[in-house]
């Protein structure tokens, strides 16, 4: 097997992975960095993030307020020491991006502009029109081209981590164009492979968001934390599921039911604010979990607009005017017209909540280190946790930068202590054998598409915005069944060059592991908190569940669920008040 010897291997070249690579290249110019991704970096899903990245810069704002918004928004499941670190680093990271040439939108005086965003008491979301993620990704990628020490392995699909008892020492990956497996010997590995939104049928996530990094860590024995917390973004297009940024509401857009009523005021987010003049943290600028849940309740009452794609609410931006929409929401306008045939300047756009982000992920501490020495994680695939039970919009892009860098520094520390990278030849050979088995299997009877469809149906039906014990029980059983049937998948394509049948089969394996972690964790959490809502346990239960859930791999069976206390420092669990009364 061809091998690559490196000091640090980074899996995933989106915002977090690229930021980690840059941090390493700048801190240690002689360090060998392997940046491995199953897609070319500019295809990473960071490019689809629209709204912006939060960081305290304006006078009148303070780190304490960003802290309070984040911790409250997360329904007190955030580790407060990690949040402290995150918000303090946030402005520095966003400034660093500006210095790398990111085209942040500006105030007339030339300073960086900020916009209002959901769940934030003050404006602190830096933005680049409505393509913030795109610009951040391209700025990072283009800057990375400055550093020859960053060696890229584009379109390499990482399959397994190589672990020897004590440490992570590298990985195996398939060079997609040739189908050949390579062994990467690394003294440290950083996982930055993104979330797993594709386990649900309606999602803003692109095809690549299949939870491969999460699954790799999971199978190496690292727990997945808080997997039950899946965020629904309130405004996705009902046919494609793609995202209409929260900034639509930040700029003043409103949400209407089929009677034209701004129904959010009936769900604790009122009183109704003047159209076009949003008040932070109330009504349409409430947090995503509350807004999505209000949709679900309103839909149950029959007040949503029936369309050919299901029930929808209306996102009305007409009062913003053509000039504002073209300047600040051009992508939104383009997408509405192209995919829905609706021009937001003239008509309200039908939208509905779609799966968007996973608060949960690979268990790390606030230094981005996993419990497995030598393995670090950052970005959506990781759970520190700074997002708790519900993430505030625009914290995620900042999270990529802060923890991408943090993971890099932790990895560098680790590498400097442990100079030896021991090649795990036998483990790699076993990984290859496992792959070959899948490849050559005949007569299995199961297909990738078939199992995937069943998984999507189960998640949609039983693991959506509102869950029940019964439904989750059914989902757990179903996913266990799918896990077993997965071993009988047979490939249609048994050739080597760019075999996407094989890749989809491997991605399905990752998704099944992630999905099982989600439903098992959800079944165990008998309370409602943030994005995890249970019809049979509608209240928050701090006595028993002010803890993170940990799903640990148990070969051949469902994950073992255990719990870990949340780090509470300054902010005791309180009431999440998004009514105008709090202002």
């Amino acid at each position: 097997m061809e091998t690559v010897s490196t000091d640090v291997a980074i899996i995933g070249a989106g915002g977090a992975g690229l930021r980690a690579a840059l941090a390493l290249a700048e801190a240690a110019p002689k360090l060998r960095i392997a940046l491995i991704s199953k897609v070319y970096p500019m295809r990473s899903h960071t490019c689809a993030a629209e709204g912006g990245a939060a960081g305290v810069i304006k006078p009148g704002d303070s780190l304490q307020q960003h802290f309070d918004d984040t911790v409250g928004g997360g329904d007190w499941l955030c580790d407060q020491d990690a949040v402290d670190y995150f918000i303090a680093e946030a402005p520095k990271e966003l400034l660093q991006l500006e210095r790398w040439g990111c085209p942040w939108s500006r105030e007339p005086d030339g300073s960086v502009a900020v916009r209002p965003f959901g769940g934030m008491k003050l404006m602190r979301t830096w933005f680049a029109a409505d393509k913030s993620g795109f610009h951040i990704l391209h700025t990072l990628f283009q800057t990375s081209l400055k550093y020859p020490s960053i060696r890229r392995f584009d379109e390499y699909y990482a399959t397994e981590l190589l672990v020897d008892g004590a440490c992570c020492r590298g990985l195996t990956a398939i060079e997609m164009r040739s189908g050949q497996m390579r062994r990467f010997d690394a003294a440290a590995v950083i996982l930055a492979g993104g979330g797993a939104g594709r386990i649900f049928p309606f999602t803003t996530n692109g095809a690549i968001k299949t939870g491969d990094a999460m699954a790799m860590a999971y199978r190496a024995g690292v727990p997945l934390k808080d997997m039950e917390f899946v965020q629904y973004h309130p405004t996705g297009l009902p046919n494609t599921g793609t995202l209409l940024t929260e900034a639509c509401r930040g700029e003043g857009g409103v949400l209407l039911n089929k009677a034209g009523r701004r129904f959010l005021q009936d769900y604790g987010m009122g009183p109704e604010t003047p159209r076009g003049h949003p008040v932070l943290k109330t009504m349409e600028l409430g947090p995503r979990d509350r807004v999505s849940q209000a949709f679900w309740q309103e839909q149950k009452k029959g007040n949503m607009l029936p369309t050919q794609w299901g029930d929808c609410m209306l996102l009305d931006m007409r009062h913003l005017g053509e000039k504002t929409i073209n300047e600040r929401l051009p992508l939104v306008r383009d997408m509405s017209i192209s995919y829905m045939g609706v021009d937001p300047v003239r008509d309200p756009v039908p939208v509905r909540p779609v799966v968007h982000y996973m608060m949960g992920g690979i268990h790390t501490d606030l230094r981005a280190a996993t419990p497995l020495p030598g393995l670090f994680a950052a970005g959506e695939c990781a759970c520190v946790s700074i997002n708790g039970a519900n993430r505030l919009g625009s914290n995620s892009l900042t999270e990529l930068l802060v923890f991408g860098r943090r993971a890099a520094l932790s990895a560098l520390d680790f590498v400097e202590q442990k100079k030896d990278a021991k090649p795990l030849v036998a483990e790699a050979d076993r990984a290859q054998a496992r792959l070959r088995e899948l490849f050559q299997r005949t007569g299995g009877g199961e297909t990738v598409a078939g199992l995937r469809k069943e998984m999507l149906q189960t998640m949609e039906e039983h693991a959506g915005i509102y869950r029940s014990g019964e439904g989750l029980g059914a989902a757990c059983a179903k996913l266990a069944e799918l896990r077993r049937r997965y071993r009988r998948i047979e490939l249609h394509d048994k050739t080597n060059v760019y075999n996407t049948d094989l890749l989809q089969a491997l991605e399905l394996g990752s998704m099944l592991d992630c999905a099982e972690a989600v439903v098992q964790s959800a079944a165990g959490r008998r309370e409602s908190r943030g994005a995890h809502q249970r019809l049979d346990f509608p209240a928050r239960d701090d006595r028993h569940f002010l803890r993170h859930s940990l799903a640990t791999y148990d070969a051949g069976g469902p994950p073992r669920i255990s719990y870990q206390d949340v780090v509470i420092t300054k902010s005791q669990p309180g009431v999440r008040d998004y009514s105008g009364a709090h202002a």
Binding site: V39, Y40, M42, R43, S44, H45, C47, A48, L95, E98, R99, W100, G101, P103, W104, S105, R106, E107, P108, D109, G110, S111, V112, K131, F134, H135, H138, Q142, T143, L145, K146, D154, R177, G206, A207, I208, N239, T240, G241, T242, L243, Q308, L331, D334, M335, S338, Y339, T447, V448, A449, L491, H492, D493, T495, N496, V497, Y498, N499, T500, D501
Partner: protein, 248 residues
């Protein structure tokens, strides 16, 4: 949801089984509002799992799904069935070698992006603890050139690139121009070597196809002509007024 009969003629190629590419027909029924990418996904899911192609975001921002649709370079996620009648011909993006089916080898493009030094080469150090000041007007000057999603439709449309593979190409030159126009940047001279080379902007004969097919309205053709003018002015200044040259 009304459906319509769709017939795709897709260029297939598997180096392990084929000497050369060949067309394969697929006929199926699809919702009218779909895009070609949706049809490909349905084919892969329910008819032929061996079909290989790149895609991700389905919202024209990742740049993965560029292909030739009825002979025109398009993003498959933005090729609406309603705009096509009859059999739709789907081929991999032109002017790039075919790896497998609709997947092309884009190494040349990625290398060219790197050659134009597409990163900030600061004109002066940043202010202490604060951002560079950049007015909305200054941002507007280069903004449109930042919108390139690296989809390579422009390379597929450009006959110069097709005939002269050494040509830097529209997206790479537009990207160099983006950085040249950024008010914070002072790297124009550093990029000159690549941009003003024979295989740089000067290979362009202003066909303009690149700007026509660009899904993000970046206008690389405009960028290239401006690079030509800038590099000409620079050349004359450097030779007629040598005292203005920077110390090397």
């Amino acid at each position: 949801m009304s459906e319509r009969a769709v017939e795709l003629e897709v260029l297939r190629y598997n180096p392990e089984t084929d000497k050369e590419p060949h067309f394969q027909r697929y006929a199926l029924s699809c919702p009218e509002e779909w895009v070609v990418l949706d049809v490909l996904n349905k084919i892969k899911e329910s008819v032929d799992p061996t079909l290989s192609y790149r895609w991700s975001c389905h919202m024209a921002v990742c740049g993965s799904c560029g292909m030739m649709i009825n002979g025109e370079p398009k993003l498959a996620c933005k090729a609406f069935l309603r705009d096509y009648r009859g059999t739709i011909r789907v081929e991999p993006l032109r002017h790039f070698p075919i790896e497998r089916d609709l997947v092309t080898v884009i190494d040349d493009f990625v290398a060219k992006l790197a050659r134009v030094k597409p990163y900030l080469i600061p004109k002066e150090p940043p202010p202490e603890g604060a951002e560079y000041r950049q007015t909305p007007a200054q941002l507007k000057r280069y903004k449109q050139f930042t919108l390139c999603i690296n989809c390579m439709l422009c390379y597929a449309a450009c006959p110069e690139y097709g005939l002269i593979p050494k040509y830097l190409g529209p997206a790479a030159i537009a990207l160099g121009h983006r950085w040249n126009l950024d008010s914070r940047d002072g790297g124009r001279e550093a990029r000159q070597e690549e941009l003003a080379a024979t295989e740089g902007a000067w290979e362009c004969s202003f066909v303009g196809a690149c700007s026509e097919v660009c899904p993000e309205h970046v206008d690389p053709a405009g960028a290239i002509q401006r690079v030509k003018i800038e590099s000409t002015v620079d050349w004359y200044r450097a030779h007629l007024m040598p005292w203005t040259n920077e110390e090397k």
